[in-house]
Amino acid sequence: MDLLYKIFLDPFLQMGSAPDLLVQTLWEGLVSGVLYALIALGFVLIFKASGVFNFAQGIMVVFAALTLVGLHAMLRHWGVSSGTVAAYLALALTVVVMFGLAIAIERVVLRPLVNQPDIILFMATFGMTYFLIGLGELVFGGEPKVMIADDLHLPRGAIDVKMLGGFVSFQKLDIAAALIASVMVAVLAVFFQKTRIGRALRAVADSHKAALSVGISLEQIWVVVWFAAGIVALVTGIMWGARSDVSFALEIVALKALPVLILGGLTSIPGAIVGGIIIGVGEKLGEFYWGPLIGSGIESWLAYVIALVFLMFRPQGLFGERIIERI
């Protein structure tokens, strides 16, 4: 009886008695949800266009952030005196690196593996993960680095808002992250719906063969898509890096994108966003209100269990394409 009370009543009473804390928790969940959603977005882009379940997306995030920080340090070392100039130069160079990476992946990995079963391509992205970890650490060193948030002029500090009988603190960086994420989703949506390349991307997602037969170049599309995922990875890397630091520990965060992904459905961009927010908010609420009951640290698996429960009812995720089976 006591346990039931603690599970079903007490957390809600706590929420009611301290609404400011609830808002704070919700906000934190929302922000981390948006960042999960950004990683998941990279997955969705690639899965839609090439049917590859890209495990390396998480590493691409780290790799992009590492390249940015590393290039910035190199530029400063070579005598670029202004931190800001160096930062934006490094940003531009990182975009070039991500483009090179997209071309390299298409040439070396995807093209020879065309028409192989999904699991083989999935494995190949594992190989890419290992390769990128080694490369990143070899070139820029393995120790954790600080994101160049100041030189990029990312906002700092917090806004304290008085509400509901208490203070709720919003980090400016988090607000910026949420804004940038929304802008990026909007841009991607327009890109997919309105542009020529976007239409070609959707055609490829529907059917490789049909797209080829109307003269769409698969190679070109794949480069575009991997480059887009690379840019998403770069933005995600900057945001995550500014919140903690840049190291391969971010890889674990990237694994969190997987439940987001399946919750939203592997092929749906809005799904990635909604899934991210559900997971982020659910995780923070669970950790804060129910966590103390069964020992802390439940954040590490709660996301997966939430996704699992949703999947029991909708096996294709919330917004995924309906699975139709034929003999």
Partner: protein, 358 residues
């Protein structure tokens, strides 16, 4: 020429359906077993046995377990590490409860714990498929990892929070614990692996294996010919987890001698998945090849530069190892997507027709 079944007549169905119907195969397996049981303990150094041969045996068994699930039944799982962990912790608890019982029996029995856990986490597999299922099994991985850290009862409230393997003897010789020599542990591990491989090879050739393969190839069609999907998938989860659990118990008791919760983390699961896919999905011999390749390559990469007298910084070697391993995985997938097992088959076929091209 060298590998040819000409002239080997079978007079009974029994002989025709043997695991190794061809004389050369029987000779080959006898030589391999003789080398493994006698050659390795006599010739290899203590260090080589404990850092290469025992790990390869443990990983081979885990890879066979995952192969039964992923390669034969077509269910992708990323929870192997956790299922191995359940076996290790189960074995530790059993060894505490029954100090007098033969340790071999305990190791084999600990697999049943992970089989039970595997069935629970396999329950969603009827509705959830493909990559969705893979992520669902991640729930098992992270939840169980959390349990290993948070439930001190599992490690008998040790301060270190790790399994400390007690000394157990077999015929008066220490088999586990700090006093056991690498050679004894190797021989025990080898016996278990040989026994379990024999079991697995008979399973996949029999009715269950055929049911699993039918489900893998098309589960709807399998259901239409009268295979009960749910039972088959759950059975596959159970058997696979049983193998992984035994491998985990071996890992803690016969390899490390003590093991922390972190041993059974997500990277372990990925590692074993590599072995299965590089070795060859749906092939038992491939599981061995995969384990040898994935475990052996980094060791080789570390020792080869030293042989040539190159001195590279240790950290650089580590990074290069990662890069080369990643590149090799991609290379192998491009050259032979069906894994090392297929290369083995091609090699055998070449030997059969040599000196003719076909």
């Amino acid at each position: 020429m060298f590998y040819r079944e000409t002239g080997q007549f079978k007079t009974t169905y029994r002989a025709d359906q043997a695991v190794f119907p061809i004389l050369q195969d029987r000779l080959g397996i006898a030589i391999i077993l003789a080398l493994a049981f006698a050659g390795v303990p006599l010739l290899a150094s203590e260090f080589a046995i404990s850092s290469f041969f025992i790990p390869v045996l443990v990983f081979s068994l885990a890879a066979i377990g995952l192969n039964l699930l992923t390669g034969y039944t077509g269910l992708l799982s990323l929870g192997t590490g956790a299922f191995m962990g359940v076996g290790a912790y189960g074995c530790y608890k059993l060894a505490t409860w029954f100090p007098g019982v033969n340790i071999l029996i305990l190791i084999l029995a600990s697999g049943f714990f992970s089989a039970a856990v595997g069935v629970v986490f396999g329950l969603p597999s009827l509705r959830i498929k493909g990559f969705y299922l893979a992520v669902a099994t991640l729930a098992a991985q992270f939840f169980l990892s959390w349990c290993f850290v948070r439930i001190p009862w599992l490690v008998n409230y040790n301060i270190s929070g790790a399994i400390e393997v007690p000394t157990r003897t077999l015929f008066g010789i220490a088999v586990t614990g700090p006093n056991a020599t690498a050679t004894t542990r190797y021989l025990v591990a080898l016996s278990i692996v040989v026994l379990m491989t024999w079991l697995a090879s008979n399973l996949v050739r029999g009715r269950f294996g055929r049911m699993w393969m039918a489900v893998r190839d098309m589960d709807l069609a399998a259901e239409l010919i009268g295979i009960r999907l749910y039972r088959t998938k759950l059975l596959s989860f159970a058997v696979s987890s049983y193998f992984c659990g035994v491998a985990g118990a071996m890992m803690a008791f016969l390899w490390f001698g003590s093991s922390e919760a972190d041993t059974f983390n997500i990277n372990q699961s990925f590692f074993i998945l590599f072995m299965v896919i590089i070795g060859g999905l749906g092939s038992l011999v491939g599981s061995f090849f995969g384990a040898i390749f994935i475990w052996g390559t980094p060791i080789m990469l570390k020792t080869v530069p030293r042989l040539f007298g190159l001195s590279i910084h240790a950290a650089t070697v580590e990074h290069l190892t990662f890069m080369i391993l990643g590149a090799l995985i991609i290379f192998f997938l491009i050259v032979e997507p069906h894994g090392l097992a297929r290369l083995w088959q091609i090699g055998k076929q070449k030997l059969r027709v040599w000196p003719f091209p076909y």
